[in-house]
Subunit: 212 residues, 2 copies
Amino acid sequence: MSVLWTVKVVGLGAVALTLSLELLGRLFGRLKHRKTLNEVLFFPSEVACVEHFFTPTATHSCFCSLPHGVETSFYRLLRHILSASSSLDLCVFSFSNADLRRAVLLLHSKGVAVRVVSDKDYSAITGSQIGVLRKAGICVRCDVGSVHMHHKFAVVDGRRLITGSLNWTLTAVLNNMENILITEEPDLVQPFVKEFHRLWVLNDPAQYYQNQ
Amino acid sequence: MSVLWTVKVVGLGAVALTLSLELLGRLFGRLKHRKTLNEVLFFPSEVACVEHFFTPTATHSCFCSLPHGVETSFYRLLRHILSASSSLDLCVFSFSNADLRRAVLLLHSKGVAVRVVSDKDYSAITGSQIGVLRKAGICVRCDVGSVHMHHKFAVVDGRRLITGSLNWTLTAVLNNMENILITEEPDLVQPFVKEFHRLWVLNDPAQYYQNQ
């Protein structure tokens, strides 16, 4: 009788131990799985070919003189932007970079909902790509109220924030000391989602002319 | 005998249960306790009196015409900067805001180790506070290599990152649409700590003149 009870107790202990380990394993596994995307990029970026983002066959057939297959800061920035599958909300002071314009047009052509808020003065300067986006049918709204709409952020699919000091210009990418921070931390992303919505509504031309 | 064993098993089960609950409680408590600081501020900021940051007695005795006791974006930004107890590493393109200059000088006077990296061209323009910081004995290094040292970030005590689109100017604070993101997420803070160190060493005047 005593031996049988010992076996039962040991068995019970073994079951309790394995259950506890399994529970802890699942808990940590879930925490590990939920590791939030956080990345920082610094500029100026090295120069490298990014043609394969726009012409998939170029991966093996581009013969331009730039280095190929190098994961520069600009390469990673483009990859984050092009990861959009449903929406891209872009709020940028100055936008003159041709590769970034190509990325936005590519997303638009794939059916991704693109919305752009920009600065009135800077959207009219020589080299600005804002006019090209408008001609392609992308909805752009310009801030007319503040001295400058100085933001430089994008929200991808409502959950990935791309923000920093970097304007979407060639000088910023290739010459300046700049930073870009990419995060999916909801406490950081959600305020930018709300701010984009606020600026989008605030700069609705219908709304604006109504208030004149 | 059988009754005694039953008591032992039930007792063992109770002990296992309470231990498991305690373990889970501690685990969740620690996770809750470790909730990382993440905050986003948008500008332009409302105008309010911030005199109490610099003259503690002003909390009850300031009679200026500005609203008092309002937690504006600028108020919160100042509070984050003034939370520094050991170091402030500042890397900012344009610095002309008098209240931010007062905050940096206050930290310096309290013995906080302040280091500043700024843009060569913008540190020489009218209204720049960089000269005032230098006169007070704060070590400032100017970037001479890139087209623009366009960063606008600060690291407080090596663990709190303040970064965004906002230059440290009056126009940025009171007129522009701007953002500031404050985080203690190590994955985001550490790259900026390293970048500051890199820029600090890179722009060491001794190093610079050696390379001429």
